[in-house]
Every structure is written in C-alpha cells, then in structure tokens.
C-alpha cells in the first residue's frame, strides 16, 4: 500500500449576502499572492485541484477556489426547493466580491473559466481597482446558442448524463483519458437545473458586448487564455475581446479545450506559468 495526503485544505464559509444565508465550501493551498479561482457552469472548485497541487504555483500564490451556491459542496440557500435557480450578472459579481471580502483577501488575482471567464470581464468593468490582475480562461463577451438548454433540466432526461454529453466535445481530443472523465464526472454530479441556471448568465444576462471597450487594463491587467478546441467560447471570440480591450494579453492554447485546468492540468500549467510570472513580477 502507498498513501499520500494533498496540501489542499477545505473549509466552510457562512455568508449573509443579499438577504440570504449561504454555507459555502472553499479549498485553498499555498502562500503568497492570493489567486481566487472561479469554476465553470454546472461544475465546482475541484476543477482547480491540479493548480492547487502544483508546488510551482503554491510556492508563490495562495490559491483559493470556492464552490458557488448550489454547486459542489456549497448548499443552495434555504427555500431552494420552491424556486428555479438562475444566475444573473449582478448576483454573480456581487457574490464574488462578498466572498473575497469575507475571506479577508486583499487585491487578489481572480481567474475564472467559461462563465468565470465571462464574469472577469464584468469584474474588470465594475471593480477594476479591487484586483491585482484578472485572468479569463475561455473568455468571450457573449455566446451564440447551439443547443436548447431546456434539455438540461427535465424529469425524463438524466441531468448528469445530458450535461456531460453536452460538454464532452468541449474537451480536447488530446486530454488524458482520466482527466477527461474526471471533468465530465463533475458535470454528472451537478444538481438538477444548476447547469441550465448558470447558462442563463452565459447566454443571456452576462452578454457584455458593447461594454468591454470601457475596460481599462492600466487599472487592472487582463490576461486571456483559450483552448483551440473550444467551440463554445472560440479562439476567435476571445480574440474579439482582445481587439476591443487595449492592453489585454491573449494566448491561444494548443491541444486544449474548454476546461484547460481540469482536462489537462499539466499542459495548462505550461501556458499559465508565464502569466503568473508576469503577475508576480508586477508585485
């Protein structure tokens, strides 16, 4: 037998926000510059375990990943059984700011993927001075619909199976098999309607076209990294953001898809390292 314990520590945060009480799960590892990580729609903070187990990262950064309400080990608020979950831009940005304040984190770097990559654009617009830098993974200003999200939440279709099927093609073919299926497992474990509710932000309320030209990278550096196999947020979508935001720095990542940090952690880290080094050098 062999055994090992990872350096990641998980705890629960009790937070009163917008008139409701939340019990939120977060994990962290490392010391140094705070790096808050935002998971994709219908998933949870486990996506960042590769990052939190990288000594090269945690020797310089305090990596924190929290599960959004309704996701992972974070509970939905009391009364959830009588409502339909639907994520809005105001709720999403407000909650991120509340969590950062509650954890006492000063001017963190925030890195988000997919809906998280979208919301960093909102954060750049609303709170540019609150962050040391922002990193958008699979970041676009909007997304064109390509399937009816109604299929994600109906009693006659297994929500976990259909969610995993819907996103399976967004994982690059080169992803290690175990990491591909771990990524899909996260989607299979999502609560009923949660993925669909997140996509309300991704497809409707979080559309930030026409506003991103106001992002000022002099106040807050913006890095964008997108996988070449991502057809949800395509490389062209990310390049369009970069064209609209002077100073944004873009990397198109080969052999990666929509979930770089979980589908192929080692390859992703090779792309992230120069970004983290740049941020660390800025002080």
């Amino acid at each position: 037998m062999s055994a090992a314990i990872e350096p990641i520590v998980g705890r629960y945060l009790h937070l009163d926000y917008a008139g409701r009480h939340y019990r939120l799960y977060f994990e962290e590892a490392g010391e140094g510059i705070p790096l808050v990580c935002l998971h994709t729609a219908g998933a949870d903070g486990r996506q960042y375990r590769g990052l939190m187990n990288s000594a090269a990262v945690t020797s310089r950064f305090r990596v924190i990943a929290f599960d959004m309400p309704w996701h992972g080990k974070s509970s939905p608020p009391a009364g959830w059984q009588d409502e339909e979950y639907r994520l809005t831009a105001d709720d999403y940005t407000g909650l991120i700011m509340a969590v950062i304040e509650a954890l006492g984190v000063d001017r963190p770097v925030v890195m988000g993927c997919s809906i998280g990559g979208r919301v960093v654009l909102h954060l750049a617009l609303r709170h540019p001075r609150a962050f040391r830098a922002l990193i958008g993974l699979e970041s676009s200003a909007h997304v064109d619909p390509y399937y009816d999200t109604g299929w994600l939440h109906r009693a006659d279709v297994h929500g976990g199976e259909v969610a995993a099927g819907a996103v399976s093609g967004l994982v690059a073919p080169q992803a290690p098999i175990a990491d591909r299926w771990e990524t899909l497992w996260h989607y299979m474990q999502s609560g009923p309607g949660v993925f669909k509710g997140d996509l309300y932000f991704y497809g409707v309320d979080g559309d930030v076209r026409g506003e991103i030209g106001r992002i000022d990278t002099a106040q807050c550096p913006l890095y964008l990294l997108t996988g070449e196999y991502d057809y949800s947020c395509t490389p062209e979508d990310t390049l369009a953001v970069a064209r609209a935001v002077p100073g944004a720095q873009v990397t198109i990542m080969k052999e990666l898809g929509h979930f770089p940090m979980s589908e192929n952690p080692a390859l992703f880290l090779s792309y992230l390292e120069p970004v983290l080094a740049d941020i660390a050098a800025r002080g």
Partner: protein
C-alpha cells in the same frame, strides 16, 4: 445494406457504416450506455441517407437509401462535404464534435430529439466509431 450508391461518395463512409453494427454491438461499455435506447436515427447526406435502427443499444439494421418515405424518430442532416469533415479520422479543432457543427448550422437535427439528447454520450461514441474506422 441495399439501394443506391450516392452514400459511397462520402470518402469510404459506406464501408464504415457497414462495419458499424459489429463495432457498436461488440462494445460492452457502449451497449451498457445504450441499454434503454430504442430508436430509428436517420443520417441524411443530402440526396442519400441511412437509417440506423437501434434496439436496446444494439444496431440491428443499417438501411441505405430507404424508401421515398423514410420514417425515423430524428434525423441529422448535412451536405456531403460537411459529413466528410465531421467523420474525418482526426478532425481539426472545430470539426471534432457534433455540437460544433450544429452551432455553425452546418449540420441540423430535426424530429423527436429525446433519444439523441437522453443518450448524447452514446451517440458521440457511435460517431467516434465511424472516425476510428477511417484510421
């Protein structure tokens, strides 16, 4: 299979379709994934088409160029060059998944989509079989 010859123009797809039942029916994982799947799926290649009859996850019939009134639960429709790209052995980024083609409106799905959406992982694995056969 029987009928016309238009399907044969799709870069060897006819032979791959002929081999599909053996591939799928010999894959225990795929059969478990599709054990409650019973449907008729039409692949429409623009002038030629194929009906896949699936029973408890097994492909029990591949009917090439069915009658003038083919009856299927749902159909996936596209022009031959699109299918050729979609079913290429190692497609480039953007050509590697059904949903990518749906997003660009290059392939369409019509009919009762419940069998497809409730068994997305099954159908994606089925298409992967068609790609594997091209290698």
């Amino acid at each position: 299979m029987g009928g016309g010859s238009a399907v044969a123009d799709l870069g060897g797809i006819e032979a791959r379709l002929a081999a599909l039942p053996e591939q799928v029916n010999g894959d225990a994982v795929l059969l478990r994934r599709g054990r409650y799947l019973n449907t008729i799926c039409q692949l429409d290649f623009g002038g030629a088409s194929v009906l896949l009859r699936i029973l408890d996850g097994r492909i029990v019939d591949v009917q090439r160029n069915p009658s003038v009134m083919p009856s299927a639960d749902f159909a996936i429709i596209g022009e031959p060059p699109i299918w050729r790209r979609f079913l290429a052995a190692d497609p480039p980024p953007g050509d590697h998944d059904l949903f990518a083609f749906l997003k660009r409106r290059e392939l369409r799905v019509v009919g009762d989509l419940h069998p497809l959406m409730s068994h997305l992982l099954y159908f994606k694995a089925l298409f992967a079989c068609l790609r594997d056969a091209a290698r």
